[in-house]
Symmetry: C2
Subunit: 330 residues, 2 copies
């Protein structure tokens, strides 16, 4: 059996209350008694039981983070940052991956709530009134990241739309005339939360219409390479392929190279995210950079503030900066 405060108390001939005072630096204990208890605790290899403490304190000193998966480099970077900051604040971190499944996500949140985490960092795939009511129901501080939910929830992200609009504007200025946009499928449009993807797409469209451009094709399914197969990029007006994330852009570049196209002479490619492996890719990819680690840090800071002070840091949504990176691919 594990050593408990009772064991220490018996060992020292004091009460468990006194042991508690010694162990937790509480006032009202003679220095000598304290030392005696501390010594005994060390000797007996006492280890506090956080679950018992949590039960009485009502706080677990744990946070939960809900993400899709870790296939995308950005998520791993984010998680790394969140874990680091959380532990600095004395919180432990549960990780729950939803695989973009709505039911899965709900269950993850439910479990986190039952485990009584003090706060949840949520990159949600769910949305809608019912979902938000559910979230309110668990009455645990939540901060949303990347996918916006509603003004009811603290949000940390970047101005996705403006970032994409800005990036595409740069591309347009380079003289591209035709545009293909590639983005994840919309299978559950209206149902799932695809805020970031929607925003990026709108940013793209806004940039086009601001320049009176209409020539565009939007590909929203996973078999996007098959669509590209049918196009001869050398025969049509100068084309740029805009991808909603770097991962797609890398796939597209690989495909184009295999087909013998010159990038950017025959066709330009742009990504979004600036994932860390881009530095090994050539031609270097034109993309949008944003401080993914900072999003992680801010999310933790925000939620800890809410936990410990009962309110979020800022009234409004925090949006961090972004930066266009001109690569050789456009």
């Amino acid at each position: 059996m594990r050593v408990t405060i009772k064991d220490i108390a018996k060992h020292c001939g004091v009460s468990s209350g006194t042991v508690d005072r010694a162990l937790n630096n509480r006032p009202g204990i003679k220095e000598k008694t304290k030392q005696k208890v501390l010594k005994a605790a060390k000797e007996l290899k006492y280890r506090p039981d956080f679950t018992a403490r949590s039960l009485v304190k009502g706080r677990t000193m744990t946070l939960g983070i809900v993400l899709f998966d870790l296939y995308n480099r950005s998520f791993a970077q984010l998680l790394n940052a969140v874990e680091l900051r959380a532990r600095q604040y004395g919180y432990f971190l549960y990780i729950a991956l939803t695989d973009k499944d709505m039911e899965n996500e709900k269950q993850c949140i439910e479990y986190l709530a039952n485990h009584k985490v003090d706060g949840i960092i949520l990159f949600s795939v769910n949305k809608g009134q019912e979902f938000e009511e559910y979230l309110h129901g668990i009455s645990i501080p939540i901060v949303t990241i990347f996918n916006f939910l509603s003004a009811d929830w603290e949000y940390i992200g970047i101005p996705e739309r403006a970032a994409m609009r800005n990036g595409v504007s740069h591309i347009i200025n380079k003289g591209y005339q035709q545009f293909i946009y590639i983005s994840p499928p919309l299978k559950y449009e209206g149902l799932t939360n695809i805020y970031t993807q929607e925003e990026r797409l709108h940013g793209f469209l806004e940039a086009l219409s601001a320049n009176n451009l209409t020539e565009t094709e939007i590909i929203r399914h996973n078999d996007y390479l098959a669509d590209l197969e049918t196009i001869d990029f050398r025969k049509q007006a100068k084309t740029a392929i805009i991808c909603s994330c770097d991962l797609y852009a890398l796939e597209v570049m690989r495909f184009l190279k295999k087909k013998g196209y010159q990038i950017p002479e025959d066709v330009g490619v742009m990504g979004f995210d600036n994932i860390d492996v881009l530095k090994y890719i050539s031609p270097s990819l034109t993309t949008i950079e944003y401080p993914v680690e900072d999003i992680g840090y801010k999310a933790v800071e925000s939620i800890v503030h809410k936990i410990e002070n009962g309110s979020y840091i800022g009234k409004e949504t925090s949006e961090l900066s972004y930066r266009f990176i001109a690569g050789e691919s456009t």
Copy 2:
């Protein structure tokens, strides 16, 4: 306040024992009462408190995983697999990152123990008798991954040494005559657990000596590119640069390209890990592949088995397979 079983009991006019029976499908309760309780639970939005349950049950249904960080793609892939399998088994996952810091790691483990996780998956940076005694002291099932500790602990990994030996043998057969080996620094040699790195290095050396080759330079610091700077690869016998992981190999390739070298004509490069981004790199990197996801799955299966049956699945250490991938870089 949260709804408790007492609230339900009062609401239904039954005892808390009966509520417990209904909620947890325990026998000895009339179907009608059960339905009544279940209905009330739903209406009142009852949510069980796992911390309270843990306290009495002595189990938390959580696992902890201890890793260096998530910078390396393999770690993220591993974590993804572990989380998936853990949740399939009904366990939640704590993640603790050590940043390769020994003290940090000890504290992470201490915290996991205090949070009373049912098991720990450990990629350790610590080693030695004192550390192992400590691990025994917390008396929680542990399975070690990648970095072997001792026969006292279940281990899941790959035969690193044989894998590297095999890979390097392939390179040797290609006619390379001179070899440079690049691997992480050995700052705390003898102190920290660098099992995988050591094994890979030995595999490299074994391959050389099996072929009576002696021309080799081993670089074990982070500024390895500076060392390469001093070498003119065109002027010396055909050289291969063997890197202990793909991340280094990518850095090396980038450096070499910048210097105007042709790969593999002027110099060959080999990596280890087969991280998923390699498919976007050209020339394609020669490397060693191993099933990192399977390691994650096996780790979870093994620890859950130990938790639920009191013993590990296999008596011996499990080592998974590996595969040499001949790329264009050698």
